[in-house]
Every structure is written in structure tokens, then in C-alpha cells.
């Protein structure tokens, strides 16, 4: 940040503003859980924070009977993990829509197993609704092709860089797959004892499960007419299902180009005096 404090009247003006503050002056208030860096960068990218938005769902995840000697997706659990997240995300988007937002930045999507019981989890989506000071280039809107506010789990810093580079976020896209890896049969396990061997059915199961999660995420991005997906994270969660059942969860931000060139100013090199 480059600014001359004395020219800006700092801290004189700041203290005068505090002295002038009266209750109830402001017509519109915002709240935001962005960090100060993120807040300032989002402002600099030309967006104003409107308010903290959140959506939440406490969900009972069903039970699935399966054949435990077979590699298979546990569809009931996959559906639960997807549906509950979708409920939370949709509720957050509705809040943002009511505020007249163009988008939501810094979205966090968490699962917390609460004290309600072992099959119950809270799915929560929290972000900061923002509105642009300027319309998007070429007379287009910042909202996505469903006329919903865009969503993005990128940090304020990444959001700033993305917009500088001529891209706009369209929406968070996700895919999930809960997969059960077969237990080995007794004679297989006996043969493997003490040997360094690949377990082909494990390898194949993990490939299959990740592929399902990623392809579901890609399908969501295609539905938004995205050019690509940035910041993809491919997580695996054991949750509370035991060693053979794992959730593979892919999440990222689908983006579209704002202009043809994608240059950002060449970064200066700095040597920080901290770790």
C-alpha cells in the first residue's frame, strides 16, 4: 500500500470522525468476516461489502446397507453430503439475493458434528455479500447465468488478483462421492502378510471415487458455462464412518473471462523481514 499519511490528514481526520460519530447516523451498515487485507482488497477491486451472509442445515445422514466385500459408492451417503451442503449454500445465496448482492466472496463451507447425536452434522456456508461499484465489462452483469449472485471460496487476495487478470467468478462448484473400499477376503489378506505389494482393488477404488467427485464438479461448472475452475481442492474426509468408508469432496470456483487479455502488472520482488 502506498499512501502519504500526513497528506491524508492521518490521524487528525480519523480522530475528528470519531468525535463526530452519533448513534443511528448510518443508513446502510455492513458486516463482514473478511480480514482487513481482504476487506481493503475487495474494496480496491471495486466491490463494496454489503453484509455477512450465512446458510446452515442440521442434517441427519442416513444409514446404508451394503455388501462390504465389494468396492462401491454409497449413494445414500453421497446424496446426504451433497444435499445438505446444497441446502446451506442455497440459503446463503438467498440472503445475498435479498441484499441485492452481485456476489459472495470468501465463502467457507464447513461441516461440524455437533452435540446433537452421532448421525447429525451441521453444514454451514458463510461468506461476505458484495456489490460492485461498476457494471461488468461489455454491459454484462456480475451475476451468473441463473441470475444468482456469484459465489467464490477464494480469499480476498485471490479474488483481487482474479479480477485484475480479467476473470470473474461464476460460482462455487462441488462434487462428492462417498465410497466404500472392499474388505479383503481372508485368503487375500493371508497372502499379503509381510509383503510389499500393490493392492490393486484399493488403488482402483480410490481412482474411481476421486473421478466421480471431480466429474460431478465439472458437470456443475459446465452448467454455469464456465471457462474453467480455479482453486480446486480435492479433500478426503473419514468423518465418522470407520476406515473403509471415505468421502471424496471436490470443490472449486468456476470462472469466466471478462476480457481477452489476462495480464497483471509484473510483481515486484520483495524480501520480507519476517518468517
Amino acid at each position: 500500500m502506498t499512501a502519504d499519511p500526513t497528506q491524508l490528514g492521518i490521524p487528525e481526520d480519523a480522530m475528528r470522525r470519531l468525535a463526530e460519530m452519533r448513534p443511528g447516523q448510518a443508513t446502510s451498515l455492513f458486516t463482514s468476516d473478511l480480514s482487513v487485507n481482504e476487506f481493503l482488497l475487495v474494496r480496491e477491486a471495486g466491490f463494496r461489502p454489503l453484509g455477512l451472509v450465512l446458510g446452515s442445515s442440521i442434517y441427519h445422514v442416513g444409514f446404508q446397507f451394503g455388501r462390504w466385500n465389494k468396492n462401491q459408492e454409497l449413494e445414500v451417503l453421497s446424496q446426504a453430503m451433497y444435499h445438505a451442503r446444497e441446502l446451506a449454500m442455497t440459503r446463503m445465496e438467498v440472503e445475498a439475493d435479498q441484499l441485492g448482492a452481485d456476489g459472495i466472496v470468501g465463502v467457507r463451507l464447513d461441516i461440524e458434528f455437533k452435540e446433537f447425536g452421532s448421525d447429525l452434522a451441521e453444514f454451514i456456508a458463510v461468506g461476505t455479500a458484495v456489490k460492485s461499484d461498476h457494471p461488468a465489462p461489455e454491459g454484462r452483469t456480475w451475476r451468473n447465468n441463473r441470475n444468482q449472485p456469484f459465489t467464490s471460496d477464494l480469499s480476498g487476495q485471490d479474488f483481487w488478483t482474479l479480477v485484475q487478470a480479467g476473470y470473474a467468478p461464476l460460482g462455487m462448484v462441488m462434487g462428492t462421492c462417498v465410497y466404500h473400499i472392499a474388505h479383503q477376503r481372508f485368503w487375500q489378506a493371508m497372502n499379503n502378510i509381510g509383503q510389499n505389494v500393490e493392492l490393486p482393488q484399493f488403488t482402483e477404488a480410490l481412482y474411481d471415487a476421486r473421478e466421480l467427485a471431480m466429474s460431478r464438479m465439472q458437470a456443475e461448472a459446465e452448467a454455469l458455462h464456465a471457462e474453467g475452475i480455479v482453486g480446486v481442492q480435492l479433500r478426503s474426509h473419514g468423518h465418522r464412518w470407520g476406515g473403509h468408508t471415505t468421502e471424496f469432496f471436490a470443490i472449486g470456483t468456476a470462472v469466466r473471462p471478462l476480457r481477452a487479455d489476462h495480464h497483471i502488472p509484473t510483481p515486484q520482488l520483495v524480501l520480507p523481514l519476517t518468517d
Binding site: F30, E44, Y59, F116, V270
Partner: protein, 296 residues
């Protein structure tokens, strides 16, 4: 006032005698202490603030459950129950419990501000808040930070406070924003486990949203957010940056075969106000690449 031995005689007004004595010494020009990190100190220096001393406020209170006013269930095994929150039902639910939490924080922060005002400071930065259980429903609320004085001719007649560290305060001030005060939104909600809820959580229920609990946490959070908005408006600020958004839930059994769930939501933030007159903030970022190892 300066009788340090007479702690037990303190009537709860103003500052405890030991704290008052420390403030007197600080005001007389004793060496100042601070909780600032080096970047925080450097940042404040650039933004025109000098450290004045370390300040704290503390308050110990008992928060009992004796103030339980019922959960709003219609009939013990009735099919319907509703969520009761402290904000929308100030006379019911756990409103007195929520008020006790509020007054715990307000008193601790207030005493910290009193100390800061006592040494002629204009604000307190990097405030750390903590709540510690001392057992038997007794809790200590503590606020601790570094008091700073602005290099300005205007004295605002109030002491600002913020959870933000010095370097963040500096960045905000240079971009035309000023922290005003710590603002809290605290709400407690309660909901009776009705027949529907009990059905939704049995293991045969399949994939289903538990509507009652979802409503409980959403209503309680919504309440806390609404109270925070009221607080920011009362301060006269333009907005707030949130430090933490906490929610805890637990089960209580006020009677045989009667369970309720309670949710407690606490939002801690700093209300901020804009003082730059231009439409755009007067800052400009520099893109740079730090020459250090990346995280992974």
C-alpha cells in the same frame, strides 16, 4: 483509593484498588508496557499512534441456570414446539443468561477502557478477549490490549477499541477507515425436542434435514446478527469487521423424559467508520512476490 491491602472492601464501582494504583503510576509517567508485536508497533508508528501502556479489564460472575423460564413447548409430548430466542423473547427462554454474558463482556471491556482513559490514551488496539470457567458456573471475562495515543490535536472524547492488531489498524487508517469500538452480538435460543424431532433423528430416518435444530441454530445466529447490527447503529459506525462467529449447542433435561436443546451464538467484531471523503479509498496496492519459501 490507594490502599492495596483493602481489596476485600472494594464495592465493585470503578476499578479494583490494585488496578487504580497501577493507572496512577502510569499516569505519573512510569515506563509503559505493551502487548504489541514488532510489525504492530511499526504499523502504528506509520499511522500516527504512539503506545501508551498495556491495559486490561476483568470481571468474575456466576452465571447460573436458575433463571430457566421454560422452553416454549406446547404440551410435554406435543407435536409442535417453537424456538425461543433471547432477542425476540426478552422475558422467556434464556434471556437472563444471554444478558449475563453481555454484561460480562461489557464490564470487562468497560474497565479496560477506564484504564486507557486514565492514562490519557485515545484507543486500545489488539484487544484479546477470553472467558475462563472457574468451576461452579463461575466465569471470568477478561479483555486485554495496548492503549495508544494519536498524534493529533483533536481528542474525540471517547476511547476507541478494536480486536485488530496494530498493523491491521494501520492499514485501515491509511485506507480511510477508523476502528470505533468492539461490538458484540450475543443470543441464546432454546428448543424443546418434540415428536417430529425425535423421529427425524432415529437411525432409520434416512437422509433428512432436522428442521427443529436447523431452526434453532439459524434463529439464534440471526438474533445475534440482529443485535450486532443494533449495536453498530447505536455506536454510529458504518460497518463492522467480524473477529469470530461462535456457536455452541448442548442438551438439557429439565424434567423426566423432557429434553431441550440450547444454542449460544456469540459474534465479536469491531465497528469501523469511514473518514476518507473521496468515493474511492485512497490506497493503492502493490503486487509483489515475496522471496520466501511457500507454505507447502
Amino acid at each position: 483509593m490507594t490502599n492495596v491491602e483493602g481489596v476485600a472492601d472494594w464495592d465493585g464501582r470503578g476499578l479494583p484498588p490494585v488496578a487504580a494504583e497501577r493507572m496512577r503510576r502510569a499516569a505519573e509517567g512510569a515506563a509503559w508496557t505493551s502487548l504489541l508485536s514488532a510489525p504492530a508497533a511499526a504499523g502504528l508508528e506509520v499511522a500516527g499512534f504512539d503506545p501508551a501502556g498495556e491495559v486490561m479489564g476483568s470481571m468474575v460472575q456466576r452465571i447460573g441456570w436458575s433463571t430457566y423460564y421454560g422452553c416454549g413447548a406446547s404440551g410435554w409430548y406435543g407435536a409442535s414446539a417453537q424456538t425461543i430466542t433471547s432477542g425476540t423473547h426478552p422475558q422467556a427462554g434464556f434471556a437472563p443468561y444471554a444478558h449475563a454474558l453481555e454484561s460480562g463482556w461489557a464490564t470487562a471491556v468497560g474497565r479496560m477502557i477506564t484504564e486507557a482513559a486514565g492514562i490519557g490514551a485515545d484507543g486500545v488496539v489488539g484487544v484479546r478477549l477470553s472467558r475462563q470457567s472457574l468451576g461452579n458456573a463461575v466465569h471470568e471475562f477478561t479483555a486485554m490490549g495496548t492503549a495508544v495515543r494519536a498524534r493529533s490535536a483533536t481528542r474525540p472524547g471517547r476511547v476507541f477499541s478494536t480486536h485488530l492488531p496494530g498493523q491491521d489498524v494501520a492499514k485501515l487508517v491509511l485506507a480511510g477507515w477508523m476502528p470505533a469500538e468492539l461490538a458484540f452480538g450475543i443470543a441464546v435460543g432454546i428448543r424443546h425436542d418434540d415428536w417430529n424431532t425425535r423421529q427425524q433423528r432415529t437411525w432409520t430416518a434416512g437422509n433428512v434435514e432436522v428442521g427443529a435444530y436447523t431452526e434453532l441454530v439459524n434463529d439464534t445466529r440471526a438474533d445475534a446478527r440482529m443485535l450486532l447490527q443494533h449495536r453498530i447503529r447505536a455506536v454510529g459506525a458504518d460497518g463492522a469487521v467480524i473477529a469470530s462467529l461462535g456457536l455452541s449447542t448442548w442438551e438439557i433435561e429439565p424434567g423426566e423424559g423432557h429434553t431441550d436443546h440450547v444454542a449460544e451464538a456469540t459474534i465479536v467484531s469491531t465497528a469501523i467508520t469511514q473518514f476518507h471523503r473521496s468515493r474511492e479509498a485512497p490506497s493503492r496496492s502493490l503486487t509483489y512476490l515475496p522471496l520466501k519459501r511457500s507454505r507447502s
